[in-house]
Symmetry: C2
Subunit: 356 residues, 2 copies
Amino acid sequence: MAPLLKDELDIVIPTIRNLDFLEMWRPFFQPYHLIIVQDGDPTRTVMVPEGFDYELYNRNDINRILGPKASCISFKDSACRCFGYMVSKKKYVYTIDDDCFVAKDPTGKDIDALAKHIQNLLCPSTPLFFNTLYDPYQEGADFVRGYPFSLREGVPTAVSHGLWLNIPDYDAPTQLVKPRERNGRYVDAVMTIPKGSLFPMCGMNLAFDRELIGPAMYFGLMGDGQPIGRYDDMWAGWCVKVICDHLGLGVKTGLPYIWHSKASNPFVNLKKEYKGIFWQEDIIPFFQAAKLTKECDTVQKCYISLSQQVKEKLGKIDPYFVKLADAMVTWIEAWDMLNSKDSKEADANGSKPKGK
Amino acid sequence: MAPLLKDELDIVIPTIRNLDFLEMWRPFFQPYHLIIVQDGDPTRTVMVPEGFDYELYNRNDINRILGPKASCISFKDSACRCFGYMVSKKKYVYTIDDDCFVAKDPTGKDIDALAKHIQNLLCPSTPLFFNTLYDPYQEGADFVRGYPFSLREGVPTAVSHGLWLNIPDYDAPTQLVKPRERNGRYVDAVMTIPKGSLFPMCGMNLAFDRELIGPAMYFGLMGDGQPIGRYDDMWAGWCVKVICDHLGLGVKTGLPYIWHSKASNPFVNLKKEYKGIFWQEDIIPFFQAAKLTKECDTVQKCYISLSQQVKEKLGKIDPYFVKLADAMVTWIEAWDMLNSKDSKEADANGSKPKGK
């Protein structure tokens, strides 16, 4: 049997090192196409194990392809991965960090994380009413008594957010306080995050439907030259959830797990995060209160509307948010430039990036 | 070590049969006081195994204690259990059905469901923002990166909703379609149901804080003389969740599991449920849209306000809801009658029910 969605899904990996971790993923990833976004020094060579089908973009490629619009893509931060979302021509994207290994389920079997994400994306979500037995579309589960029948068709799933065994995704203060904490709890569940509820989206192990939500998966301005880091995926998650709620799309979280091997340095993280830690106290109420009008009937329109609200409301907190709001607009322009009908035809006629 | 909350929790059991199932629960329940609500024929004798501390109320007792207000307590339906909530003088209540046995965790160990409910009730809930690693207060878990620090104290937990292995809590149509489905998935998680999201609350395995939410735990008018059954706990759940959201209280669901031994007859269930199945299509949008003003600063005031809205909005669907709205008011009157300062003193001076 051919791997599911073999020709409809790209795997996006941001990296600054050789991709030896792919060896472990070979049985699961090799049938798929990889988009590698090389961060940092573009003259450095990133080694990709033999036998993988990939294209690789470094900073020079990003600058060449996007021209002045490349300013919206972060440098020296894994936020650069969203460039990969933009250049993909597939319906689905899975993104994973290069310190994430294959986890084992409680029976000791290797978990094919990608297959589970695909399953999550291909079955509906239920954001309008909570199901106490979790995802009702899973084998052996269903809607419980009292679940309205009119809501049992669910809504299309736009995002599948996977979790992490071993090193949990903690902020710097929690890392500092609990340096030895490891996540060993295998929770055998997938669930829809209810409409109206925001969540902290982690980019380590994340899949989404590009056609449904791609233009909102912008990982913001982080890293080099920016006052903040480690909020790239959070930013995307807040925007994505507000837009999914507005457009009637679903966000799932839970299975699959990956094995997160390496805790990042909490002191370095604290430096990157500390502005975010107090800014988020204003950002989250902002997103909880954000309103999209019925004229916002595409992801792009929703995102532009959000960017205006960011500039107006969050711009008062710090000039950074004015810059970010402008970058959100640039991102949409760049997305549309690469994803218009014309650009797809040009792509079909050549202009291939590095890779094989 | 003394059992947790030994003198602060009552176990409420509605029944029509001998309580042999308590033998299995003896190691866990024996230290606690039981309130048994005998449904159906009051002349029948319900046998309670030796060694349990209990009080037992049959229909004659309910009529004697509540007088004309006894009309709000259902007859020939397990909804009668809410009488037990009303006569309890404890801070916490756990209620369980008599076809629920002790379940085993994946290691084969008996699950002390009550202890887990108590743990759920004694630690806070997090309804304002979703935590992807589930209950952050559990051993080995915490708030993930991006969770606002200002929300990490959580809110008081009012309800702990436990689940069921073996026979899942399905409605009659699902029972009919999937007669052999069993729930074998042990999901090792407790989570807070986000603010603004309703859920189907099942009364089989349920604990709550009477002081925080007791007056909203009314199981409605079901069974004998009513056009509907099997919506008692659902009704309570909708009301409870709207009021918890308004008052800033939390509702948790997930662990602990009990072993649900016996599927009820789907044909009988269909007869009880069929009006509910179409009514709920209107009831749920009603509760999703229900508004409580800031004057509603107690559970009682919230509940009376909801009863007015039920009469006005749902009364149009069927005269049953007018009757139910009136019963909601009677319930609050009866609750306050039994739970006023005076009634507590009278209780301390005697007037004991049957039991030992």
